[in-house]
Symmetry: C2
Subunit: 159 residues, 2 copies
């Protein structure tokens, strides 16, 4: 993909701010808040989507409601050569794995995993991770409590 030009003005920032806080805010409301015509807002939002500045809209669901109570981070050392990320892509395919990051210094990855409980984690490690070629070792960190968990970016005030 070619280098994209992100050319955002302060109106775009305002739209992003509103959307980041409530992705279901309707066009008419955004238009009212910004004092513009709905059609103009629609145009801008579409452009933000096309330029892949807004990547997706998602509902944040309470993990407790789906009985997914255990959050863990796992450091994974692999035999992946630098540049190659074969293991990473396999990890990314696992539904319980929410994040996969290639990290500096350790020849490995940091993954974030959400399971039912500790038995679910053990299952995952034994039956899923255990079957992936190239994993040399793992180090697991259990989350006792999550104080904050958001994806919100800091949006500039001025353009």
């Amino acid at each position: 993909m070619a280098k994209l030009e992100y050319n955002l003005d302060h109106i775009d920032f305002q739209i992003l701010r509103i959307m980041q806080n409530n992705a279901r805010t309707n066009n008419a409301d955004i238009a009212r808040e910004l004092g513009m015509a709905p059609s103009a807002i629609l145009e801008r939002v579409k452009k933000l989507e096309q330029k892949e500045i807004i990547l997706q809209y998602n509902a944040k669901i309470n993990p407790l409601a789906l009985d997914q109570n255990l959050l863990s981070f796992i450091f994974i050392k692999t035999s992946d050569i630098i540049g190659e990320q074969g293991v990473a892509y396999l990890l990314a395919e696992i539904p319980e794995v929410q994040e996969v990051h290639d990290i500096a210094g350790d020849d490995g990855y940091l993954i974030k995993v959400r399971t039912n409980d500790s038995s679910g984690l053990v299952d995952l490690m034994r039956n899923t991770l255990g079957k992936i070629e190239g994993i040399l070792s793992t180090r697991t960190t259990i989350v006792l409590e999550t104080i904050k968990e958001e994806q919100k970016l800091v949006i500039p005030t001025k353009e």
Copy 2:
């Protein structure tokens, strides 16, 4: 807050699945997809919100577009006593800090931070973290590349 009863049937699961994938899917579309009246869907969605099963709707914004290119994880050891989380709440207030987790075993927290670049990270550590009382030490892990980053939960197929 009293213990909430989450009583979800397979229709709720389907709604959650749709919403999780695209939070801007409109009522009419959901209704059509599930073969139900829009009013019934609206009723259910409202209930899911009220029961705090759907926590919020957010737009995922491309960090590159806002020039936030560096992602880091920082382990923070503190003098917080078990049960007390004073430092955690201070950390949670920092806009660049997207996540704060109380982790097992280390008397500390794992935080996820998104900054402009490495100088932004240094700034944050020096000027913001450095001013928080009770932080004993930090260990920073830099993310070279993110292969996957989602909040999507695994939603049961059957009720």
